[in-house]
Amino acid sequence: MTIDALKAAGLLFVAAMLQVSIVGSVHIAGGTPDLVLVTLVAISLLRGAIVGALAGFFVGLLLDTAYLGRIGETSFLLTIAGYWIGRYGETTGRDRSHAPLLSVGVITILYAAGALALHIVLGDPVDARLVMLDSLVPGALLNLLLTVPVYAVVRRILGRPEWSPEVRLLG
């Protein structure tokens, strides 16, 4: 369990550093891939809701620190994203080959909508058209392109999914 946590933390740290230094500057057709979100989805699917929520919280803090953004903002969104995808992975998405792609597609859209709502609540001037129309589709497609290799790498490092006995009984 501890080794697993360290591996997940290492994966997310590398993903976060690559995102802030390299991937964030890639703009293709108006969209930017989100390596951290895709890595978080992969970890959550393989390790469940609690690990997903914890991973989301800590990688969110890391991103808020690296970007000198508002502490807690990204943590809040990624905690919910990690938990939700983790629950999906533990239940409906178990052993489904399309689960990573479906999860990344859905969570990219929900994350953008959630972030937009949060920015509006916080009083930031945001361009809803840019977020929900212009950059969302190319961003989601780029994330989907990243999904297969990232999921394969994360699965190779973390190993097969480990489910708790009660979830196994329900499944």
Binding site: S21, T32, I50, G56, Y67, G72, S75, H119, D127
Partner: protein, 268 residues
Amino acid sequence: MVGVLVVLSLALLSIYFRESGDGPLHDGQGVGATALRPFEVGAERVARPFRDLYGWFDGLLSAKSENEKLRKQLAEARADAIENQTAAQENAELREQLLYQDLPGLEDFRSVNTRVLTYPSQQFERTVVIAAGSTAGIRPQAPVLARGTLVGVVTGVTARTAKVTLLTDESSAVSAYDVNSGATGLVQSAEGGSLSLERVPKAKDVHPDDVIATAGSREGPLPSLFPRGIPIGVVTSAANTDTEPFKQIQLAASVDFSNLYAVTVLVR
């Protein structure tokens, strides 16, 4: 467990909002950002050759058309340079004779040249984090240039890093003037990450290819943060419409805001 993390996130967000710039969360963030800096610099160095290669191919595609345009501009610039040199000499002599008291110019600032460390998503905040902070003399609201063109202003500082809000951010606004006609206005972000010059009266003469630079006004209780005359971009279109009270002016920035690798911060 999840509820605790969500509440903790919201609590951190709330505290961060309410506390001052030197509060414990801001201080902690500064320490964290300093600790992350070597990793960000390392990743940026690893990425540099690939980025340069991409830039080379990208530049190759537009080089031919750009070359023709630049040749034409060079011919015009040579003619302007001769005129400007004469005018500058005359100007300097007259200022000396009049003991003219001017606004702070670029020569009154010290330059801190540094690299760009992080590139956040362009969806919400158009900001970058740079690899120099308060230890290099950088303070909030310092102007930031790239290749001699204004690109933004410092909005957050830690010991070894600083956050720069770009001109293309929705919250940015810079008082500027048309170098050719003298019309003044406010440069703000426009749709698609471009720039526009707002609040220019319809009667003013503004034409495509006019150069827009910082106005550097000292009027009122809040003088401009930027010295006068830093280039921002050129006018791409200027039109009057019946429905708008001011001229509709679109600008093309002189730099690509999505590909900033190194910047200059002006400090005093």
